[in-house]
Symmetry: C2
Subunit: 337 residues, 2 copies
């Protein structure tokens, strides 16, 4: 239903109806209530531009990236989901690139002053994230993709990294693996710490020792994972299974396994975390890759919805979602020979 | 050098110096010239925020994506280069996602009215691109990543797709291949049309026929390329070499070759176009992939520089760059058995 139709239905001018809906003081209270009730009953919804004019919003959500290396497949997939959903409300994404952590904090302060964005999305949080504290202090709405501890109510959406890793590790132990390697994300990031906690919990539950030589933290690229896996495969006794932090990591481990003359899924197993990239399908790999799976694009869509709720007045402390993670078993994991 | 130091050097107040640099009429012409000459001589450069205030710029460049499927690895790499360079000038990127071509045109009109961006980058242009015509008509600065024909002066940067494909095809013919397949990008996009023209030119130069059954246009994913290559490999006689439009396409073709029981680089050759993704390295593939190579991230960096030149007053018609493309031969291409 359009504004024109609503006005005709009410027998009022479009100007009066628009002012009533936006709470202008020149419209009588009784008229305002009548217009708003009728609009709600008939399902009238003002378009995005009209709402923005009425609310004084910037119509953009801020997203800050530190350096070009943060533009990876994970960021792309997340932004694809986020921007697709925001587009339905004609909300844009303002991307700011900064060189350092200090510059990132400065960018938030500048954005607060310039009013170019209505809210921020914080990604890859640390266990205790100063950025969240700053945004809280300068009173800009924000939501975390991931979790942090700052002792103040804030909105977040995360996947159950700890539970996923605990389950994958337990499964490998059940298959008979005793030397299991973990090639994890960068140390200090909450998701990587949670995954390590899950890995350690599963080993501890079965009385298995943690071998620091079988654990590494690194960025998610094929090249780095290849070198780390190569070194680990030279250990005696060598690992019989790998847990990979990402699909890119898995490709590097896979290459090291092949180059060492081992067979994937027979001599050495892999379970990789899969954020679901349309151009790198675990099912299509050869052999198909076992994964812990959660769509980062779907998380982007949902975070768009949550941030719209936040801007509509839902309390930040009431916006928490922890998503379970699937364990999908394919050919890359099996019992050790 | 800071504004304060420049003012002290000149024996003037900071306010006067700032006004002189920004051409305010309340500063005498002789003072303005003296301040500007001294500033230039001493290498004084006002910071980004100060320049923006002085110029009235929005401090953001617009980038419109149609649908979530345009958020792929190519876009990411391009944005990484673009935003890294723009960050040096404290310029952001405003990402707008739209559902359709008509909505994309509407987004440009809205942006022109709202003054949220100073210029746009048009990507994946068609041979004759209506978007460029619109931006020209509504008088918003823009630069094309790629080329189009609109009969008006405009800024662009492109790689030599036609030359690259002609060279790769000629090389395969030199090796002895006569049945060469081309899995190209989406029809109608300038880059795909230029590549097809290069392919046809190389075949024609050696008197070889074009077989439509060995040509396909598709989006750049592993899955689609896998199916197309599978069908082509069932032809009799089958192709002995493939030209792949992207690294993702190459992965799909590679999978089809393996699944059909052929050996890559021996039974069937591939040369792929490589935009240089940090997480998918042609050198690290097994066997290593022969490529036509041009860094799309480097193109993003350079387009940032060109758009800053455009905003500083360089005529759009004087901003044209056509980059040559490397042909890098590795193990995935060799003579047919």
């Amino acid at each position: 239903m359009k504004l024109k139709e609503l006005a005709e239905h009410l027998g009022l001018s479009q100007t009066t109806v628009s002012r009533a809906l936006n709470g202008y003081p020149e419209v009588k209270e009784s008229t305002r209530l009548m217009v708003q009730e009728t609009a709600a009953r008939l399902g009238y919804r003002p378009n995005a531009s009209a709402r923005r004019l009425a609310t004084g919003r910037a119509g953009a959500i801020g997203f800050v990236l530190r350096g070009s290396e943060e533009f990876g497949p994970h960021t792309t997939e997340f932004l694809a989901g986020l921007s697709g959903r925001l587009a339905e409300e004609e909300v844009d994404i303002l991307l700011t690139n900064v060189d350092s952590y200090q510059e990132e904090l400065a960018a938030y302060r500048r954005a607060a002053a310039s009013k170019k964005v209505d809210a921020f999305i914080l990604h890859s949080p640390k266990l205790r994230d100063e950025r969240a504290e700053l945004l809280h202090d300068i009173n800009i709405p924000y939501i975390l993709h991931g979790r942090t501890e700052i002792g103040r109510p804030h909105a977040w959406l995360d996947i159950d990294n700890q539970g996923a890793m605990e389950r994958a590790t337990s499964h490998l132990i059940d298959l008979g693996h005793r030397r299991i390697a973990l090639i994890n994300g960068v140390r200090g990031r909450t998701f990587a710490e949670h995954r390590e906690a899950g890995f350690r919990a599963a080993l501890a539950a079965r009385g298995l020792p943690v071998d620091p030589a079988l654990m590494a933290n690194a960025i998610f690229t094929d090249e780095v994972a290849f070198r780390l896996a190569q070194t680990m495969l030279e250990l005696k006794p060598r690992p019989t299974a790998f847990l990979a932090g990402s699909m890119m990591t898995a490709l590097g481990i896979f290459r090291a396994i092949r180059q060492a003359g081992f067979e994937l899924g027979k001599d050495v197993s892999i379970i990789a975390h899969d954020d679901v990239f349309p151009y790198l399908n675990a099912d299509n790999m050869f052999p198909a890759m076992s994964t812990t799976r959660s769509s980062i694009r779907a998380a982007g869509v949902r975070i768009a919805e949550l941030i719209l709720q936040l801007l509509d007045g839902k309390p930040a402390g009431a916006i928490h979602e922890l998503w379970p993670v699937d364990l999908v078993l394919r050919q890359s994991s099996g019992p050790p020979r």
